[in-house]
């Protein structure tokens, strides 16, 4: 865990005071809605269909048990008893009253939390691998650098009014769980000649013009991280388009002037500032490292008797096979907590569930919790010998659905139920899909499939990079959905291909089912995953069958 010190606390308190003053001026009529809008957005406050929505930053998806309790408190005290975890590793509360916002924020600040830079045209919360510092795959904890970026980007005076919002993601593992190639900047930690540094990828993004990002530098030594980022942002701030909101993201600038010219501008700017005040050194990086408290890992070995005995319980064994991953420390494991039970909105958690997860984290997982961009939670450090007891407790809270990575582990945006921009609903569709695919044997047989739903072209549900992507469109005042196949968000990121004409709402679940039946029939063996089969076969066989029955 990163421990905030007095600098961070002072800053947050000052920020809460500032916002309280701004809300007061809005309520007094001194600020009109247009003037208030960018100010509230800077604090994570959106105006949605029914109410103000508060988005809270969970920097790089890491939460302490106390912070989780603070979220539970806000859900209970200021909202309707639940919150919604998002694909940006944040949480949203959908029903907060403007007058109560400053109090909710003060309560959060006491736990070191805030809504800063979760909206507005600034550098947003940096996201990373939910398995950071736990997976054996990575070379270093990427959160160190995410924290360095957080500090540098917090209320950056030069980059608070960019052409458009700006998202940075970072990973240190081979297997990219942070979708770095579809962010404005993606950073991949790797090592060259014994030095740690980054591959720098720019101009990825989804939305109405999706792009996979381009690598503009294969290797950037870690000491140069901030100066290089500043050079990219300055290049974007000066040259990004401001005439059309749909063309204002950095991906359009990179596309229009070309990767080569963009890179040239960045490198030229960087040459001027690389040895300046932003240059990092080992002492600065180590000072940040010292703020991350390493859990007091018990010395344990893999496969304890308690675990082996528990595996004879078939329900536990199923969950274990599905939701538990290897840890870098012997005798430990990474546990993913599914927020996708059958029939519920993806990513929602009740205040009671949040409190329960906080308690379980304290008992079994060194008090640490992560939010995964798949809208699930993770306990990154669990003792293997405690897995069975943990599972029982999670199950009692409805938090042990063994569907991680399977068809019912759906990523969905809020859609028409909450969002003012939506064409179509996302949540009810996700709920219907989970009901159709409730049979655990069946979904385990189908295996790994990522299904993503967005209620409109803004792509908050990442539909372009879902193995199956579903996009809400409007047709003759009715909700229709476009379906894409073959998208991927990982290190081989790829955008999905359109299957065919849009499908009316009552047909979507059937079409998805026929696509999956086709896969099961045509796969060479169970080892060939859905996405591999789509790559081998192309979309034609799926298309034929998907529309055949209509």
């Amino acid at each position: 865990m990163y421990i905030y010190d007095e600098f961070d606390r002072t800053f947050l308190q000052e920020r809460v005071d500032e916002f309280r003053d701004q809300v007061k001026r809005r309520l007094d009529g001194e600020l009109n809605e247009e003037e208030f809008k960018p100010l509230r957005l800077m604090n994570g406050v959106y105006l949605q269909l029914h109410a103000y929505m508060l988005r809270i930053a969970i920097p790089y998806g890491t939460l302490s048990s106390d912070q989780m309790r603070a979220l539970a408190h806000v859900a209970r005290r200021y909202d309707r008893g639940y919150g919604h975890f998002t694909t940006r590793q944040n949480i949203q509360f959908n029903w907060i009253k403007l007058e109560e916002l400053p109090d909710a924020m003060a309560d959060l600040a006491r736990a070191g939390m805030h809504g800063l830079q979760t909206s507005g045209n600034c550098i947003r919360n940096t996201t990373t691998d939910q398995w950071a510092n736990a997976t054996p795959e990575e070379i270093e904890d990427p959160r160190l650098y995410a924290e360095i970026i957080r500090q540098w980007s917090t209320l950056h005076p030069e980059f608070t009014y960019l052409p458009r919002k700006f998202k940075i993601a970072i990973t240190a593992a081979k297997h990219d769980r942070a979708a770095i190639r579809v962010h404005d900047i993606g950073l991949r930690l790797h090592r060259k000649d014994g030095v740690t540094g980054f591959e720098v990828i720019v101009g990825g993004g989804l939305g109405r013009t999706p792009f996979v990002g381009k690598t503009i530098r294969e290797f950037l030594p870690r000491h140069d991280l901030l100066s290089y980022l500043e050079a990219i942002l300055r290049t974007y701030n000066a040259g990004g388009r401001r005439d059309n909101i749909y063309k204002a993201r950095i991906k359009i600038q990179v596309h229009e002037i070309g990767t080569e010219e963009f890179t040239r501008r960045v490198e030229a700017e960087w040459a001027q500032i690389k040895d300046g005040a932003l240059a990092l050194d080992d002492a600065a990086i180590d000072a940040i490292r010292a703020h991350f408290k390493e859990p007091d890992f018990e010395a344990l070995t893999d496969g304890p008797a308690e675990l082996e005995a528990a595996k004879t319980n078939p329900d536990f064994a199923r969950w274990y096979a599905n939701s538990v991953a290897p840890h870098r420390k012997g005798g430990h494991a990474i546990v993913t907590i599914s927020l996708k039970p059958v029939g519920a909105p993806p990513g929602d958690a009740t205040a009671d569930q949040m409190d329960a997860v906080a308690d379980l984290a304290d008992q079994y997982a060194y008090g640490e919790i992560r939010v995964a961009h798949e809208q699930n939670l993770t306990l990154p450090h669990v003792r293997q010998k405690d897995l069975f007891t943990l599972w029982q407790a999670l199950d009692a809270q409805g938090l042990a659905t063994p569907n991680i990575g399977l068809i019912s582990d759906i990523i969905a945006c809020p859609g028409l139920d909450y969002c003012a921009l939506a064409n179509a609903r996302s949540i009810p569709l996700a709920q219907d899909l989970t009901k159709r695919f409730a049979d655990l044997d069946r979904i385990a047989d189908i295996g790994r499939v990522h299904l993503n739903i967005s209620g409109c072209i803004n792509a908050c549900g990442h539909h372009h990079v879902g193995h199956i992507g579903i996009l809400g469109v409007e047709k003759q005042d009715q909700e229709f959905y476009q379906i894409t196949l073959g998208g991927k968000a990982n290190h081989k990121a790829k955008l999905g291909e359109l299957l065919g004409p849009a499908v009316p709402e009552n047909e979507v679940v059937n079409v998805v089912e026929r696509i999956l039946d086709t896969y099961v029939e045509l796969r060479t063996s169970k080892q060939e995953t859905f996405i591999a089969a789509v790559q081998r076969l192309g979309i034609e066989p799926f298309k034929e069958r998907a529309y055949a029955a209509r």
Binding site: D5, F7, D17, E35, P38, P157, T160, A277, A283
Partner: protein, 166 residues
């Protein structure tokens, strides 16, 4: 519009002059076009010269004049258009401009601090009521995370200094 410099309301001694007009016998603010066209002739006069520089023009073009310009006025056409923040830092930190750096356009209180941190020392304020808020706004934070040309220590370094001192 009220002008506040270094936190205090001041009278504006400069007259903005249109390109086709003859120069008055006073300190002037000319357009970028006029500065680049007439350059030396402007500085040969006995009055201070300032320039109004658009936010889509490279400020590094001002290099030949930085030591002689009394004022550079940068423009925020809308407060949401943040290009002049980068221009300000480049002028101060890259070109070492020491004269008055004036924020003009849609200059509102909630951006005062950002402007000051980027190197502006003069604010041409839109709303009369915001003038009194300058002092409060620019002192609303005591902690800053990133170094800009204003030379304040940031937590990353201050923590280290504290650790070394201890």
């Amino acid at each position: 519009m009220p002008l506040v410099k270094n936190g205090k309301p001041v009278a504006d001694a400069f007259v903005a002059v249109a390109d086709e007009d003859t120069l008055p016998d006073a300190p002037v603010l000319v357009s970028a076009t006029r500065l680049l066209a007439e350059g030396e002739a402007l500085f040969a006069r006995n009055h201070p010269v300032g320039v109004i520089w658009p936010n889509d023009k490279d400020v590094l073009l001002l290099e030949p004049f930085v030591d002689r310009l009394a004022v550079v006025a940068l423009i925020f056409p809308k407060f949401r258009d943040g290009r002049a923040y980068s221009q300000a830092r480049l002028l101060r930190e890259r070109l070492g401009f020491k004269g008055e750096l004036r924020a003009t356009g849609n200059v509102l209180r909630d951006q005062f601090l950002l402007m000051v941190r980027c190197g502006f020392d003069a604010l041409e304020i839109v709303k009369e009521g915001d003038v009194a808020a300058v002092e409060k706004e620019i002192h609303s934070y005591s902690v800053f995370y990133q170094p800009t040309g204003d030379g304040r220590p940031v937590p990353l370094r201050a923590r280290l200094a504290a650790a070394r001192g201890a």
